[in-house]
């Protein structure tokens, strides 16, 4: 065995702060050989990106390496001057960033950017560099590279853009590639292609690759070895298969157990214990007599967005974002809605909840009638009381200038569901109901973590005693362990309160865990809609099959695969 390409020993990274230094990474170790992919996995704040940035010398100030060594072929990178380190970047170490839209210069053609890098890094004349750039673009799987070189980044799709970024990272023929969440911004089906490309390049060129990600599925598919990080410390390291199948650290076990399965519906989400506290009685008030039948129904629903710009006096045809002949949601049902970005799934969700005006067709609620036909304020207000939303981004969905108790009191007071004197007690009960404490009402949103904020959002949605909740990617912005808690909470609420839900997500595994029926959307149309179990076991439509086959899987990690062991692991 030759010497390792990269050896990190006892790395400590500190961010000095006037209220005491923050140690972001401590005692981190890693060995990376040529032709090997090592995955760095951890939840947000684990310090995994910080390690990647330290290796390439791009720690954001004031952070710095306070002890330990980063040896690249025996040379300690932490002792190099900024100037010497800059010379290594691109030539010895390449980096792939998360968002391919922001890591390319939008004002330069792809060919210019790549040729410029090649020309500088390999000291080539520009003409020769351009020819080399074309060759490299086709190497990373861009067909018709000669012509596409003269296009701008916005003319490429997300996956293609990430391929360009990879070509850029490889421009100086580095030995070490750091990929920081390279596929997080991409759709699942594209993700697989990009990961395969990274894998191929690693093998062919005998590159060492550090793959930083929060997604265990990505690790399982790509990495040879994995380092699990938590709170800046290395929790566990070893061969990917071994770690996934037989994790030794407690944290790794919990992390793996928290990942929702795509192959079966887990008991922890299916049969939660319903709760019957005082607050649940209040939440169910005035909802005891409900009619049978479907909850909502649509006819020929169409949403068009006007196209921008008029060329030569001819108006472009509008963009048809949603075109759904009919969709029904039964009372008490959870309908899952999956699709890739741009498929129109969020738009459909907002049309159904009356948050976007409908272009054609109608949405009819059994209890409220046609929602675009409200003429007076009272029925509209009654409709708004029944239908609520939980959003994806817990940061933008709370008003940062309002205290949490005011955020929760507002809908209660506005809909006159409790008197002024009763409201504080209800707010406290709601907070406790979603797993926070009553005292949390006196804080502002920024004092909470993402998961806690999402709980506040759920409490706000509950505050009007709704019957229907649109969950628009409610767990996509959360860490995987928090995601499981959030799904469990939503499923428990649904069972306790008999809620009807529309659950929009790009994550097939999540949808499988929560949905009774699942609709698959593509380009504004529903391509397949059936019982969840049937759809996942025997998908009919080609696109559904494609989605299922490209979804990353973490397999063989559930040793006994019983619900009891999973639940224990979660607790």
């Amino acid at each position: 065995m030759t010497d390792p390409l990269l050896k990190i020993e006892d790395l400590q990274i500190t961010f000095p702060h006037r209220r005491g230094d923050f140690i972001a990474v401590q005692g981190f170790e890693l060995t990376l050989n040529k032709g090997e992919i090592v995955g760095l996995i951890g939840e947000s704040g684990a310090g995994k990106s910080t390690v990647g940035n330290a290796v390439i010398g791009l720690l954001s100030p004031p952070g710095r390496v306070t002890s330990g060594q980063i040896l690249l072929d025996g040379q300690d990178l932490t002792e190099l001057t900024a100037h010497r380190l800059a010379a290594l970047r691109g030539r010895r170490i390449g980096m792939i960033f998360q968002d391919p839209m922001t890591s390319l210069n939008p004002l330069m053609t792809v060919g210019q950017q790549l040729a410029q890098s090649i020309s500088i890094l390999r000291k080539m004349p520009m003409r020769q560099a351009r020819a080399e750039a074309a060759r490299r673009l086709s190497d990373v799987g861009i067909s018709d590279a000669k012509n596409r070189m003269d296009q701008y980044p916005h003319e490429f799709s997300g996956g293609m853009r990430q391929r360009v970024v990879i070509a850029l990272a490889l421009a100086g023929d580095p030995d070490l590639l750091i990929a920081d969440e390279p596929t997080t911004a991409l759709d699942v089906s594209v993700q697989k292609q990009v990961l395969d490309l990274i894998k191929d390049i690693c093998r062919e060129r005998a590159l060492g690759v550090i793959l930083v990600t929060h997604d265990m599925g990505v690790i399982a598919e790509t990495a040879d070895r994995v380092c699990v990080m938590r709170h800046g410390k290395l929790v566990e390291t070893g061969d990917t298969q071994k770690v996934l199948a037989h994790p030794t650290a407690d944290y790794t076990t919990r992390l793996i157990a928290a990942i929702p399965s795509i192959t079966e519906r887990e008991d922890r989400f299916r049969n939660p214990e319903p709760r019957t506290g005082d607050i649940d009685k209040w939440l169910l008030q005035a909802h005891d007599r409900e009619e049978e039948g479907h909850f909502l129904n649509t006819t020929d629903l169409v949403k068009e967005f006007p196209a921008k710009g008029v060329s030569f006096g001819i108006r472009q045809p509008p963009f048809r974002a949603v075109d759904v002949p009919q969709i029904q949601i039964a009372r008490g049902e959870v309908l899952g809605l999956v699709g890739e970005s741009g498929s129109g799934k969020s738009t459909l969700g907002r049309l159904l909840t009356g948050l976007l005006p409908i272009t054609q067709g109608s949405v009819t609620y059994t209890d409220h009638g046609d929602i675009s036909a409200f003429r007076r304020a009272a029925p509209r207000k009654a409709f708004r009381r029944d239908v609520q939303v939980v959003f994806q981004d817990p940061y933008s969905s709370l008003n940062s200038r309002l205290r949490v108790d005011r955020i929760l009191a507002e809908p209660i007071r506005f809909h006159g569901l409790a008197s002024r004197s009763q409201t504080p007690r209800l707010v406290a009960a709601l907070l406790e109901r979603v797993g926070l404490s009553a005292e949390d009402g006196r804080k502002y949103p920024h004092q909470f973590s993402g998961g806690q904020r999402q709980r506040i959002c759920i409490a706000r949605a509950l505050a009007v005693r709704p019957r229907f909740i649109l969950c628009d990617e409610p767990t996509s912005a959360l860490d995987v362990s928090i995601q499981a808690d959030m799904l469990a909470l939503l499923m428990e609420l649904r069972r306790s309160l008999g809620l009807t839900m529309l659950f929009v997500s790009h994550d097939l595994a999540v949808v499988r865990q929560v949905s009774d029926r699942v609709a698959v959307m593509r380009k504004g149309k529903i391509v397949e809609l059936k019982e969840a179990e049937t759809l996942f076991q025997s998908p009919e439509h080609e696109y559904t099959r494609h989605l299922l086959s490209t979804a990353p899987r973490v397999e063989g990690h559930r040793p006994s695969n019983t619900a009891a062991s999973t639940r224990k692991a979660i607790q």
């Binding site: 006037r18 907002r350 909840t353 948050l355 509209r380 207000k381 409709f383 708004r384 009381r385 239908v387 609520q388 939303v389 959003f391 994806q392 981004d393 933008s396 969905s397 709370l398 008003n399 940062s400 200038r401 309002l402 507002e410 809908p411 506005f414 809909h415 502002y444 920024h446 959002c457 706000r460 949605a461 009007v464």
Partner: protein, 300 residues
């Protein structure tokens, strides 16, 4: 974010001595001018207390001076320091009043245009653009002229300060409207506003309770900058003889009156009010600069 960093406020402030100095200067000037009748050593515009015999005395540290008049006297024997304090009071009143008026108009227009968009936005912003095409001083001149002819002379004379506030305030709202509209467009797309729609909150509640507090940071910075601009505009108008009357002069009017004697060696009558005006403007600008950095977490 004003709330997030209560304890950081003093830390960031104390890290910038020039801002502390400017802020103290502003506080000092505001206090001294507000309480001018008690602070000032003389009542400069009361004919009973001034004596023509004291005219053109130099500042106290020069020859031929009178220790009663620290910064000297003007040609009518009025105390320059007292005149500055009374004049500064008018300048500050006009500056603060005009900016308050601009802010209220600008906030209203900006919120309405940004929130409703479409035709409302187009009409309001076209009006704003037309006004923006005229220099503020021209608009103030115009309004001043119109009011001068429209109002009886005695009313116009006594209402000089409110008229200046109205003129300068109406000239300055466009910048506020633009900045508020831009912020509103951003906030409107945030999920918490969609949540307001989902709850069914009426439009005015959504705008006032949810959007307004979130667009105030840039308004605060702009307001501080605009106070300085308004003070200068007022001084300019007064210097041109269109502002406050000589019986009740602002800093600008004092500078204008004094400038006639600058070349006859009586420099103190114009230099001291000029320095005070300069300090006021620079202090407001420096504090506004600091506030902009402080309110923008990305720059810290």
């Amino acid at each position: 974010m004003l709330i997030r960093i209560k304890s950081d406020f003093w830390y960031e402030l104390l890290r910038s001595p020039i801002t502390v100095f400017s802020a103290l200067l502003i506080i000092l000037m505001v206090l001294a001018c507000t309480f001018a009748p008690w602070v000032a050593p003389h009542t400069p515009f009361d004919p009973a207390t001034i004596s023509i015999l004291d005219n053109n005395l130099p500042p106290a540290w020069q020859d031929r001076s009178d220790p009663r008049f620290l910064l000297g006297t003007d040609m009518q024997g009025r105390d320059v320091l007292s005149a500055m304090l009374y004049g500064g009071r008018i300048s500050l009143m006009v500056g603060l009043g005009a900016v308050a008026l601009s802010t209220v108009i600008g906030l209203t227009v900006g919120l309405v245009a940004g929130y409703f968009g479409g035709l409302t936005d187009a009409i309001l912003m076209r009006i704003a653009e037309v006004q923006f095409a005229f220099p503020p001083i021209l608009i103030a001149l115009l309004l001043n002229g119109i009011l001068k002819t429209a109002l009886p002379a005695d009313v116009f004379a006594t209402a000089a300060v409110p008229i200046m506030i109205l003129a300068i305030g109406l000239a300055g709202w466009v910048q506020f409207a633009r900045i508020v509209r831009a912020s509103t467009l951003v906030q409107r797309e945030q999920d918490y506003i969609t949540a307001c729609h989902a709850i069914g909150l009426p439009t005015h509640v959504t705008i006032l309770r949810h959007i307004l507090p979130n667009v105030l940071s840039p308004v605060l910075v702009l307001a501080m900058l605009q106070i300085a601009v308004a003070i200068v505009t007022e001084a300019t108008l007064s210097f041109l003889g269109l502002g406050t009357p000589l019986t009740e002069p602002s800093l600008g009017a004092l500078i204008q009156a004094g400038s006639q004697f600058l070349f006859s060696g009586i420099w103190w009558v114009v230099i001291f009010p000029g320095v005070m005006l300069l300090m006021m403007v620079i202090a407001f600008n420096l504090v506004a600069d600091w506030a902009r950095d402080y309110l923008n977490p990305r720059l810290r």
